[in-house]
Amino acid sequence: MHALALSGVAKTFTMHLQGGLKLPVLRDVNFAVAPGQCAGLTGPSGTGKSSILKLIYGNYRCDEGHILVHQGGKAVDIAAAPPRQILSVRQNALGYVTQFLRAVPRVSALDIVAEPLVMKGVARDDATARAAAMLRRFNVPERLWSLPPATFSGGEQQRINLARGLLPEHPVLLLDEPTASLDANNRAVVVDIVRERKRAGAAIVAIVHDDEVREAIADNNVDVTQFAVAA
């Protein structure tokens, strides 16, 4: 039983502003991740690693194939699901941590981290307390919690983003360079949390360029070069 399975996934971008230029990026993407496992996506830049994560999250539309995410005993095909169903899967089963925080003006770091829990129906006090614990774990100084993160450093923003993405404990988790701008201490925090999530049964797909971190979290590597359409 897989928590996440991709079969026959293909993606082509059509650039209408360049005279309808077609850019095939991926074809015949096949891999699956079992609960408690972490798959590391490998391959040089530009092969389509991030595109695969965006396809799974429903951020990019899938041209062909199936992307099955298991949620509470049934599978949802992200490639065919209507918007409401994708939103529901994201809220309840699918987490995605990118390198960049999309900061919302005026919203404090603490509220940004707590928000996914609140959306899931957790009481605000409880969500805030858990968000605070997560920020503490990522060594984000308490004086920053009440500030909107737009002016934070890259590393601070990434930790806010990680705290937000990891807090809801989704059964399927997508990580795109989660440790890119972190120091050794905070990289270790990420490794610890990912291992905890795996023990709790989460299925994880990660893009990590840092070999040490990838070896510490990934159970197997999926070489994306095999799915890339040669340019």
């Binding site: 971008f13 059509t14 650039m15 209408h16 502003l17 965006k54 429903g58 951020n59 990019y60 539309r61 918007p83 409401r84 169903q85 994708i86 939103l87 529901s88 809220q91 309840n92 919302v104 003006p105 005026r106 919203v107 959306m119």
Partner: protein
């Protein structure tokens, strides 16, 4: 969200078209909107997005098509089959409409408290103290100082007027709200405050909303879903991040690539 398969839409648009004589306003627009969903309608001036909003919100009768609304008792009503008083009652209680220009959505000569309280009186509130308390509570929620409750909106800044208009609309806990360029005429810093407020209140109250905007950043921040309009027709729709990150139609690609980076 557990009942996603069984949940019924709140608002259904079926083949809505509007002609001004021979000129097309909007053509054959269909969609379903569920409780708590925020849908943005984007497109340039003249794309038909404001016409669509006016038709959806019952201000203009469509030339073709129909609008179904699930009433509080669960029954689906065809908007234009309802009696005029019923329709007006619906607009006063269950629906809200936020105009781009707050002067159109407020009574400029009436106090802020009165502007908010008026919607309550329209649904039968009679106790003055209750009305005033609730109005004060709503002014606080939209960050208007209580000391300004007896001032008229003429003395308010643009941002405050817009926040007051929002309070006036939301005080009756509507289930559906229409917004026409809600941040249109505001300074950037004032816009951010308003967007944050709207985002929070709409999600807390689980209100469904249709937001017309030409600003893709506003759409991204506020909406779950998006419809792109051009020449009166919907040319692309879907999840907001999906349409903005992976636009398929030539016009949508042009819109997305025309944003100036901050």
């Amino acid at each position: 969200m557990s009942s996603i398969e069984t949940e019924q839409p709140l608002l259904v648009a079926e083949g809505l078209s509007k002609f001004y004589g021979h000129r097309l306003g909007c053509a054959d627009v269909s969609f379903e909107l569920y409780e708590g969903e925020v849908m943005a309608v984007v497109g340039e001036s003249g794309s038909g997005k404001s016409t669509l909003l006016q038709v959806l919100s019952g201000q203009m009768e469509p030339s073709a098509g129909r609008i179904l609304y699930r009433m509080r008792d669960g029954a689906n009503a065809d908007l234009w089959s309802l009696s005029e008083p019923m329709r007006r009652f619906l607009f006063r209680t269950d629906w809200g409409y936020v105009h781009q220009d707050p002067q159109h959505g407020l009574r400029m000569g009436v106090s802020a408290g009165g502007n908010v309280g008026e919607r309550l009186m329209a649904v039968g509130w009679r106790n003055y103290a209750d009305i005033r308390d609730t109005a004060a509570d709503w002014l606080a929620r939209v960050e208007i100082p209580e000391a300004r409750i007896d001032d008229t909106p003429r003395t308010y800044s643009g941002g405050m007027r817009q926040r007051l208009q929002i309070a006036r609309n939301l005080v009756t806990a509507p289930r559906l709200i229409f917004m026409d360029e809600p941040t249109g005429g505001l300074d950037v810093s004032v816009q951010a405050r308003l967007l944050d407020l709207l985002r929070r209140i709409v999600s807390e109250m689980r209100i469904a909303a249709v937001v017309v905007t030409h600003d893709l950043a506003v759409a991204r921040l506020l909406s779950n879903r998006i419809m792109v309009m051009k020449s009166g027709a919907v040319i692309e729709s879907g999840l907001t991040d999906q349409v903005l990150d992976d636009p398929h139609e030539p016009y949508t690609q042009l819109l997305v690539s025309s944003i100036l980076p901050a």
